[in-house]
């Protein structure tokens, strides 16, 4: 592409026939520099220059749609910026995360266009592809490029190397090339051979990816990271790939990860790994990272997993084993309609996905919740007359401050029997007429420090259980009756909090929810991140879900089908006998066949 540079310079030279020797000298020195530069950057290209004729349209679009977050001068300081985590992009330095170009380089137009079209998942940046016209998108991208002040898209010194498909990918250990496996299957990109996943895991350990991304990839490695502007930043949680910024609305595609490993993320501590890893190896790391992400149905409008609005509590013969790592509690986060559960886990309760948001409605509002979702698994036992709820969620770093412990709570209508139809209490701590019963577990991890290296056996939690009655977001009272809720097991393991609640189905407390079986019961969840100084109504919250204690499988399931089949066999025998008899009667002439009209 330096060839184009040469031609440009020659062209400039011709136009400047009247110019002084000084400029000529300048041109020649440029030429000389360019010639020297050829061997090292022989395949580099110039960035796409700004298309000036599109700026007017682009400006209109920008000031109507983008300015609110990205700011008047593109400094990422619009009115919304201070209430967003991650903050909106600051365009002034020309630092863009999602590219196909080398680390530190400007993006190509197509990268920015794709970002505008698909949005950046897990952030406030929505997908504009269906909202703006093609021309508006192309124009606004040109306008955004014009907001870059510290660099110049028409600067001769700037170069862009497409490290994904370009020849320049030969820098380092070779191009990314094609994946070392045949095409993946379906929208969930299943079917990558295990050997590549295993190889990727070894490379993950060898290249110390866990230092930032944590031992199981939940982004729980390093709590002190900052971006280029000094704002705090966290590593991606690989177990929630729908939040990958560069997912391009195709979260399960391993290419997304292979691209990021090849290009790094400008402005963040994420480097590229082309020096350390060959193309095939980058694909293998991608395969490993990709394998960690549970497969859930993704809502195409919000690009988030569709929540499981009905939490099914499974009937357990005899007592429930109150141990989180007991095989009877083992379930996959992946939806068993997408990947069938293994034979051992088939009878186990499903893991239900609960979407969480900041409580931005009442009192002190939480604009940047640290937990995006919860996972709920439940069993109940008629023999114990008790129900168990295992609550799990990903939390990168826990609090060490006893003043602000981490906490999670289950919220129930306190007077379930008084609710009519689909009526429910107010979702934030109930209301004066319909109180809620809140089971809250607060906890601190023992011997924990956020900067510790990954600890495979996890941290024990010091749990304090509290039962309260809520009459409103700011009206929570302690219960007078005896506390009945227990936390029977808990752990903080590789960036995941796991807390198992237990309670008797029926209690004496006036404001205790009395849990019926085989009935839909409203339930919702609250969560506090101590490290973020969350307390009281400053929390993350879900909407009302339903839970149901499923009965044991009826015995009739085993005897009715054979009985029905036998009855049907008998019916068939009668039908055959009848038909044959009728035939015989026809043949013997006892009965006349129905005659056709002539």
């Amino acid at each position: 592409m330096n060839l184009r540079l040469l031609i440009n310079l020659k062209h400039m030279g011709m136009k400047m026939t009247k110019n002084t020797n000084k400029i000529k000298r300048l041109i020649f020195s440029f030429l000389a520099v360019a010639l020297i530069a050829i061997p090292t950057s022989a395949f580099a290209a110039m960035p796409d220059p700004i298309k000036k004729d599109m700026l007017e349209t682009g400006k209109k679009v920008y000031f109507k749609r983008c300015v609110w977050c990205h700011g008047v001068e593109g400094g990422g300081d619009g009115p919304s910026a201070d209430r967003l985590f991650t903050r909106p992009r600051n365009f002034i330095q020309g630092t863009f995360k999602i590219r196909v170009t080398d680390s530190g380089e400007l993006p190509m137009d197509i990268n920015l266009i794709n970002t505008v079209k698909n949005g950046l998942q897990g952030s406030a940046m929505p997908a504009w592809g269906e909202f703006l016209s093609e021309n508006e998108i192309l124009s606004v991208v040109q306008f955004v490029k014009s907001l870059v002040q510290d660099r110049d898209f028409s600067d001769e010194d700037e170069e862009v190397n497409n490290v994904i498909t370009g020849i320049a990918a030969d820098n380092g250990k070779g191009p990314l090339g094609d994946a070392p496996w045949a095409a993946t299957k379906g929208p969930y990109h299943l079917g990558i051979p295990q050997e590549h996943v295993d190889a990727g895991k070894e490379l993950f350990i060898k290249n110390k990816c866990f230092e930032c991304h944590g031992g199981e990839g939940r982004g729980d490695g390093n709590p002190t990271m900052k971006d280029d502007w000094g704002f705090p930043i966290v590593a991606a949680n690989w177990q929630q790939c729908w939040n990958f910024r560069g997912a391009r609305r195709d979260a399960y595609n391993p290419f997304v990860i292979a691209r990021t490993i090849s290009t790094g993320l400008n402005g963040t501590p994420m480097p590229n790994f082309r020096e350390q890893l060959t193309g095939t190896e980058r694909w293998q790391v991608a395969a490993f990272v990709n394998s960690l992400c549970p497969r859930k149905k993704i809502d195409p409008l919000t690009n988030k997993p569709i929540p499981d609005f009905l939490i099914q509590s499974v009937y357990t013969e005899g007592p429930v084993v109150p141990k989180i790592d007991d095989p009877s509690w083992a379930s996959s986060d992946t939806d068993d309609r997408i990947v069938p559960a293994s034979e051992e886990q088939k009878e186990n309760p499903k893991r239900h996905h609960i979407a969480m948001a900041g409580q931005i409605t009442r009192g002190k509002r939480n604009f940047d919740p640290k937990a995006d979702n919860l996972w709920i698994t439940s069993r109940w036992s008629a023999e114990e007359n008790a129900v168990y709820y295992l609550v799990e969620y990903d939390q990168r770093f826990m609090s060490s401050d006893p003043e602000y412990p981490d906490a999670v709570a289950i919220q129930w209508p306190a007077k379930l029997q008084d609710l009519f139809g689909a009526e429910k209490p107010y979702f934030i701590n109930g209301d004066s007429k319909k109180p809620v019963d809140i089971w809250k577990a607060s906890f601190l991890a023992q011997d924990y420090n956020a900067t510790n290296a990954p600890k495979p056996e996890g941290y024990k939690l010091e749990v304090n259980v509290e039962e309260t009655v809520g009459y409103g977001f700011d009206a929570i009272k302690a219960k007078e009756s005896e506390a009945k809720v227990q936390v029977v097991d808990s752990i903080f393991h590789q960036g995941r909090v796991k807390v198992m609640f237990k309670r008797d189905l029926k209690t004496d407390g006036e404001f205790d929810v009395q849990i019926p079986t085989e009935q839909f019961i409203p339930v919702s969840f609250l969560q506090w991140s101590g490290r973020d100084k969350e307390k009281d109504e400053h929390m993350a919250i879900s909407t009302w879900y339903y839970t149901i204690l499923k009965p044991a499988l009826p015995a009739s399931l085993y005897y009715m089908p054979p009985i029905m089949a036998v009855i049907f066999v008998a019916f068939q025998g009668w039908l055959v006998w009848m038909t044959k008899r009728t035939r015989k009667m026809y043949d013997e002439g006892k009965v006349k066949r129905d005659e056709l009209p002539k």
Partner: protein, 322 residues
């Protein structure tokens, strides 16, 4: 080769080819007069009729009945759009089955012909068919019984009113506003004059854009989490809530409401909804707790400017997009 078999293959193979290769061509993003799913279905029917006529296949009546019934099933299950709920599907199929039966019993001859292979199967003249059918049917019945008895649970369906009836007046920050006669105090000019104006840049130059800029600022500090950067109800927290946040782009929301209605809904939020037609379960905050009266009016002004809708006013029939 048996003509009935050929006819059967014409149907099955044809359906496979049509469904997998030709159907996608007829369901493009932009639906046209020719390229649409119903034309595709007619083409398939025409293909069946013409092939059978040209090859003089004359399939037996029972098989023709099967084809007719199968075509109905295919139409309701795969072609008809938007897809219908299964209860409706069952209803349609019952009617279609009755129609098919009428077709075969239209005269005694066809009816007898229709019965013939069935009777032959039952009495064992078609030995293989008899064995297969008589073994398969009880097994199917057993499985169906199992599926019926196996308990399955689905979340209860909840119905609610979309637009609650507003009260006559609403009291915000100590002042009472009659909803029918209250107008947005910041709507100082005709909205359409500012379609192409720039927030922030034009805020100093004219009053209207100053209010729009201030309203937008409040929107993007408070409302976009649910109602979205595009005001389409798809904000970053929208997937969490049920009912989902309102989509202002949709012609069924702010486009058909008065500004005073919005003022009431914004000020009082979910907790201020009337008791009738509950449950609302709305996560909408009572914004009077967080915003000043003026700020609420400015947000409303901004929402109309951004979406291009005009608020409903008395004396006009409705609203038009700008």
């Amino acid at each position: 080769m048996n003509k009935a078999l050929i006819s059967f293959l014409v149907f099955v193979v044809g359906l496979g080819v049509f469904h997998n290769a030709i159907f996608p061509i007829f369901t493009p993003k932009e639906i046209g007069w020719i390229l649409n799913r119903y034309v595709y279905f007619l083409l398939f029917v025409a293909y069946l009729i013409i092939t059978n006529l040209v090859l003089r296949l004359k399939p037996p009546v029972a098989m023709t009945a099967l084809f007719v019934w199968g075509l109905g099933f295919y139409f309701y299950k795969f072609v008809l759009y938007p897809p219908i709920p299964w209860t409706l599907f069952i209803t349609y199929m019952v009617m279609w089955s009755i129609g098919t039966f009428l077709f075969i019993s239209q005269d005694p001859e066809t009816f007898r012909e229709f019965r013939r292979p069935i009777v032959k199967t039952i009495v064992g003249e078609y030995k293989l068919a008899q064995i297969v059918v008589l073994t398969a049917m009880p097994i199917l019945v057993g499985f169906a019984t199992y599926n019926t008895i196996y308990p399955s649970y689905q979340e209860p369906v909840e119905l609610r009113t979309v637009h609650p009836a507003p009260p006559a007046t609403t009291k915000v920050h100590g002042k009472t506003y009659p909803l029918e006669s209250t107008n947005n105090p910041f709507r100082v000019d005709e909205q359409d004059n500012y379609k192409d104006s720039f927030p922030f840049l034009d805020a100093d130059k004219n009053e209207y854009m100053k209010y729009v800029t201030e309203g937008g600022t409040i929107f993007f500090q408070n409302c976009h989490y649910c109602h979205g950067d595009q005001l389409n109800g798809l904000g970053m927290f929208s997937h969490v809530f049920n009912p989902t946040p309102a989509n202002f782009i949709d012609p069924g929301t702010i486009a058909m409401l008065q500004e005073a209605f919005l003022f009431w809904r914004v000020s009082k939020g979910g907790p201020g909804l009337p008791n009738e037609s509950t449950p609302w379960s709305s996560a909408m905050p009572p914004w009077e707790e967080h915003l000043k009266t003026d700020e609420i009016w400015k947000v409303i002004l901004f929402e109309y400017w951004y979406t291009g809708w005009h608020p409903r006013t008395f004396g006009t029939e409705g609203s038009t997009a700008g």
